[in-house]
């Protein structure tokens, strides 16, 4: 069951995207917990792409492809902008106590994405950057 979505590069669009994903996942038979976690992962990835990757430039769009099967779900999001790999690694590994101490608002989204998904990779093709994620389903 495949679906492709394209959204304007604005955080204002996210509530509508979540509503769409909620309806999409309702037809998959996923548990409520799995459904909520996958919506969160996509929401976090899109927020990162909008805010950090594309500076909320509303002239741009972000697309996502979701491929659901009984055994796994594959999610691909692009253009996520050019992320710094070193910075990304630092964010994911940063201790939550340090995030609190440094009064940081960010840095949690990637932690959630890496905690929930089984595979998270990034690649660049034709000058655009993509996030490719897989979750194996029980």
């Amino acid at each position: 069951m495949k679906v492709n979505l394209t959204t304007v590069c604005s955080t204002r669009a996210q509530e509508e995207i979540r509503a769409f994903l909620n309806r999409y996942f309702n037809d998959t038979g996923l548990s409520e917990s799995d459904k909520n976690q996958l919506i969160l992962v996509i929401d976090e990835s899109i927020a990162n792409a909008i805010i950090h990757g594309n500076n909320s430039d509303e002239s741009k769009t972000i697309s996502m492809d979701i491929d659901f099967s009984e055994k796994r779900i594959v999610i691909e999001i692009g253009d996520i902008g050019l992320f710094d790999d070193v910075l990304r690694k630092e964010k994911v590994e940063k201790d939550i106590k340090d995030i609190i101490k440094e009064k940081q608002k960010g840095g949690l989204g990637l932690k959630l994405v890496y905690s929930i998904m089984d595979i998270v990779t990034f690649y660049t093709k034709d000058g655009k950057s993509y996030c490719y994620m897989v979750k194996m389903l029980k």
């Binding site: 955080t11 204002r12 996210q14 509530e15 979540r18 409520e32 917990s33 909520n36 976690q37 969160l40 929401d43 976090e44 927020a47 909008i50 805010i51 939550i96 106590k97 995030i99 609190i100 101490k101 009064k103 940081q104 608002k105 960010g106 840095g107 949690l108 989204g109 932690k111 959630l112 905690s115 929930i116």
Partner: protein, 113 residues
């Protein structure tokens, strides 16, 4: 998302309804920033109507946590749904901040502190 503020002499109640994400968390940030400036740092957060929270929403609370604690206050969350709780749990925050089932338990934490 909607935020309702209820304030008595000592405790600030924040009732959040709807979805707290990257867009709506800006409003919550202003509310907590004002509370900290006024030294109202005993903060009860009612999550009964909170349907969704993203990392941006969690991040707002965390970014003020150090200031709140250094002023002798705390956040106490109550009426949290299992979906919202799971996000705090994945981040390991359920053991670091106060999350209780009901308002009476939440108030008791302030009575004892």
């Amino acid at each position: 998302m909607q935020i309702l503020i209820e304030s008595d002499s000592d405790i600030l109640h924040i009732h959040i309804s709807g979805e707290l994400d990257a867009n709506s968390s800006i409003q919550l940030d202003e509310v907590i920033k004002d509370a900290v400036q006024q030294r109202k740092t005993r903060i009860l957060v009612d999550c009964r109507e909170l349907r969704y929270i993203s990392s941006a929403g969690v991040g707002v609370f965390l970014s003020h946590l150090d200031d709140v604690r250094s002023l002798g206050g705390r956040f106490v969350f109550y009426n949290m749904s299992s979906g919202v709780f799971s996000i705090f749990e994945i981040l390991g925050l359920h053991n670091m901040i106060d999350i209780v089932k009901e308002k009476t338990e939440a108030e008791k934490i302030f009575d004892e502190s």
